[in-house]
Symmetry: C3
Subunit: 464 residues, 3 copies
């Protein structure tokens, strides 16, 4: 018996479900555009088999190990961290025993989808069939059709964007470009290591940026030029966007000499936390200015208190599930940038949030007014059926559908990509079906919107 029901996530009410089915049928075979994610270009450039189920599903997926950790399971027993020498099969068994913890979470949906569609596993994972799963997945991973590039094609991914540091050589992207795959794999310019003074090793990174670009990044103007050049390098490899993961969406509009002074103070390590916040704020505005010049779409992902759990950070480093959202103010914070560039129709800034109270209060009203602003989809913790529905319910009334940009999977869990897009498409169809059932939208319009959300808006907004 299959785990995946054809009607999953569609509305329960009969007539609304029928409408949703028809809408979904129109878009379910559209190719995938993934304009924002965290897969590794190296996987596709080298095309090596994925090592084993634990390395594939658990170790890179903070959604999974944060839940297990919250229930008292040490990270080291999951194969995570420098000290861990956990046997992957034992890691898998531990995970399988605790699969019940994911009931009601999106992780469960993504995994069930991957297990069944990729590996034909149709009995719910649990302690008793952990080894069966492990063996079956392991065996599949050795097959040619489960190599990364084969999966790209199988998943019908048309465009896949990675996220990359300005210090990255992008060598794997070069390789990929030369291969001429059917899937376009693109880099995204994520300058946090060289624009956020709180980023570990900031000063050295700025220096390395200077070496890489042959610019004097000890000066403000050399630093800006180095960033501009690096953006060009990303563009040359197909990049169409930048991404900014600041703690807040603070922006500033300092005059050049004040900005230069601030920059020098930070390089000299004489700066305060407030200076760092101001510098990040100024850099968002600088990035917007550069985007207006070079056409890169700007993505702002604010509001996460990174590495909230210091002890874990000291042992395991970044991205181990201890990033916690904070209340976020967009209205005051974005204003300096918007005062300068808000009315530019040639600029695209996509806003994301971890604070859902801002959907109806700040983000939809901002995006429903400023020509440069668009709303990114429900993000991170809110990338769930409930979270996606809240996003539509709380933004559509004010910003409509056409100030949103379609779906981002935003994942390092490569095998979850089709499942995530499928969830987004189903939830959007469910929302649209409700509008049709409530006689607020004709079905032909709903079909058009569903297609736009799944494909056209992504291509258009991200300049793909």
């Amino acid at each position: 018996m299959s785990i995946l029901n054809d009607d999953r996530l569609l509305p329960a009410e009969t007539e609304t479900r029928r409408i949703a089915r028809r809408l979904y049928a129109e878009i379910c075979t559209l190719p995938i555009l993934s304009p924002h994610g965290h897969t590794n270009a190296e996987w596709f450039a080298t095309d090596q088999p994925f090592p084993n189920p634990a390395q594939l599903f658990i170790v890179p997926d903070h959604y999974i190990f944060r839940m297990l950790y919250s229930q008292g399971i040490p990270l080291s027993s999951l194969g995570i961290g420098p000290e861990s020498s956990a046997d992957p099969r034992k890691v898998w068994r531990l995970f399988a025993e605790h699969y019940y913890l994911f009931r009601g979470t999106p992780t469960r949906i993504w995994l069930d989808y991957a297990f069944e569609t990729l590996f034909g596993l149709e009995t719910r994972l649990g302690a008793t069939n952990a080894d069966e799963y492990y063996d079956s997945i392991s065996e599949h991973l050795q097959r040619a059709e489960f190599r990364p590039r084969a999966l790209l094609a199988r998943f019908r991914i048309e465009v896949l964007a990675t996220t990359d540091s300005p210090l990255d050589s992008l060598e794997h992207h070069k390789t990929l470009q030369s291969l001429g795959l059917q899937t376009t794999v693109l880099p995204t310019f994520r300058p946090d290591p060289v624009v956020d003074p709180d980023f570990s090793g900031f000063q050295q990174s700025v220096e390395r940026l200077g070496h890489a670009t042959r610019e004097d990044t000890a000066t403000w103007s050399g630093y800006l030029t180095a960033l501009r050049k690096t953006r060009e390098r990303f563009k040359a490899l197909g990049g169409t966007a930048t991404d900014h993961g600041h703690p807040t969406p603070a922006t500033a509009d300092l005059n050049p000499s004040a900005a230069a002074t601030l920059f020098e103070k930070i390089l000299a390590r004489k700066s305060s936390p407030e200076d760092h916040e101001l510098f990040r704020a100024q850099m968002l505005t600088e990035m917007a200015a550069m985007s207006l010049d070079d056409g890169l779409v700007m993505q702002i992902h604010p509001g996460s208190f990174r590495n909230h759990n210091t002890r874990l950070y000291e042992r395991f480093g970044r991205d181990i599930g201890a990033d916690i959202p904070m209340a976020t103010d967009y209205v005051n914070n974005l204003r300096p940038l918007l005062q300068r560039f808000g009315n530019e129709t040639a600029l695209t800034i996509i806003l994301f949030t971890l604070d859902e109270s801002t959907y109806s209060r700040e983000l939809a009203p901002l995006a429903g007014h400023y020509p440069c602003l668009k709303l990114g989809p429900a993000w991170w913790f809110h990338d769930s059926p409930e979270g996606m529905m809240r996003f539509r319910e709380q933004t559509t009334e004010t910003a409509g559908f056409y100030n949103t940009v379609g779906f981002n999977d935003d994942t390092r869990a490569f095998l979850s990509i089709p499942a995530r897009h499928d969830v987004a498409r189903r939830v959007d169809c469910a929302f649209l079906a409700r509008l049709v059932a409530g006689h607020r939208l004709d079905e032909d319009e709903a079909v058009e919107v569903a297609r736009d959300l799944a494909y056209n808006l992504v291509r258009r907004t991200y300049h793909l």
Copy 2:
């Protein structure tokens, strides 16, 4: 084929829909009470035909042009602003081509309703039938039965409140009073220009207030007397309420000499932004004191960052869609006023919000305790089916229905008034039907509540 389905906005589930239909049937023909809005008394006093479809539907409606502007359409091409000389037919075509942007928004619902019920237009607006719409509406507007007063009667509006500056002569209201229309058109006392020091021309306005009332508004006591007299002038023309659009709901309770000193400092232009906030705060408390004397119902509409887009403000002035909601604190801000007047049963203060996170956290608990407080309906950006449903879902559990005050259309878009009331009635019936279907309320009670929300509570709370 009609665009408007009889069941629009009612629940999809069969049994719940049947209940909702029965409830709606009980209230759909009740007359309209519009105790808070922004129509212009001049329209009804002079009873001139509305000029053309663009002037009627687009130019005065910031919901419409903010959406179009957000998608890169210049305001001047929509006929907005001093420099615009756009041909109204071209404005209309531009709007019609972009009508798809309003999918899923309340604007779409309001417009479809007006197009069909008033002009018999039953084919969805789009690029191809833009001229047909334009011609048909234009032709109708010339008919006697489409004059403003005829529409008042046709809409079955029993009471219509406008919002007026203390500096307004209210001459049109006087005319209307002398005409003895079936619809009572009332002024609402909105003193922002003379109580908010950040309002453009504040000092001159205070001086003009002095002239108009023959009081020395250069003194604190003269100023208060002038306000009191003006409130009496509004009352004499039927006014029953005041309205206050402050950026925050801050209140203060200064002693008279401190208040006088603050007032003088502001008049002398020696004040800081903090002084202005304190003065507004003090004035809310002064207004409450006057309301306790003269019985005017007080409405507080806080939480909007007005004129967020400075460049647009400089070119086009206020109210061009660039007002953005902010996080709002009622619990601490209202306390000074509530410490003085919170337990007064003879005082009515109606609270509105643009920050929906305050519904369940602050507003319902406050209104569910203090005798003077009532909750206004879902406001502005949240005046949508989803927003209205959130309002009921998040306030009823704590404040019940009887600490709310029925619906406000709050609009300058005169032709949308019946549609807006219809949406509110349908959503309330949908919410009540869910309570009945969930066996939480008997149907006879739901009918009573539906009638109270649509009519009785409005009449009672606003003293109509």
Copy 3:
């Protein structure tokens, strides 16, 4: 005709309702575990009849009298306050006349349930049958089977926790322990009067704590020892948990000498409001340290602005319905405590909130990461069908079900306990049925989760 329908609160859609019914049938007869509430141990120790309907239902229930007060009914006319000599029958009539105010509120659900299941009253309460209700309830209350202990058994309450001051002798708990009832009645250690310097009589209470424990509570170390000893006293009578009702969830981690200095300053009454906040913050961390030693589960109930209405507080004291929720920050506030103890698997801290915007933004991400954190159920104003559903919808995606702890009735309204648990069970079944109907969860899993939420998780988390 019965007021209570078997399907009340279950989903309206036919198939989803069928699933929900099956789930509910599996759990509706489970015994009640009430690990957090405010009933009075004296009732059960002395087993006196409840005096009359007004004293039983109205006077102790702030949900009821705050609503009546908000509509202008004086508290004294409800039998509340030192000056009140209201006739209980008149109080009851006043309540019955205003029963319509509770339409749509959880109070209505709780009362209808108690009226029908306990007293066989199946006609909706109103002005016309007020006396009939009063007489019937009065008559029942004199019967042996309506004595407090008989009701404990009838309600099938397995465990009932009260909330008690460290200064309480717990004599009634001692009596109850000696009686060997089927229901275990436990004390909960609520140290606010001796750890919150803003609590009325703080210094005297600390002194009394010293006398009671024979420790020198004028010193920091003596004070801590006194608290430790008192916790042991609570444990000896079956206590398994502590509870903390601070205005904010601020925590601190001062070194012992700084903490001692702060304590002395406060005892000497030389402290500022900021000192008090810092002391409360430090005490949460001290309590966590003690919990790690003695195993008591820690509950944090922050975010209420207590006694917002000063005039009422001065006349009637605490808990008269004038506590108003405030915006609450958990991410920054809890960090000092979490830095020290966040990774302890032997510690359990249950977080509650009155700020629902924190569910998805802060609480679910925190509880879905830190092993020591769990989420308490929807609390106080949010203990409604809508509020419970929002809790599940906004926390499950990130924290799952197994970082939550089942239901708390949190009530002093003893007769409402079965109704409240019934509502929680129905809403959880409704939520689970939606997951099953959406093909996200198998029905056998949903049954297991329903049982865990109703019983197993409570027993396990609270160490019952």
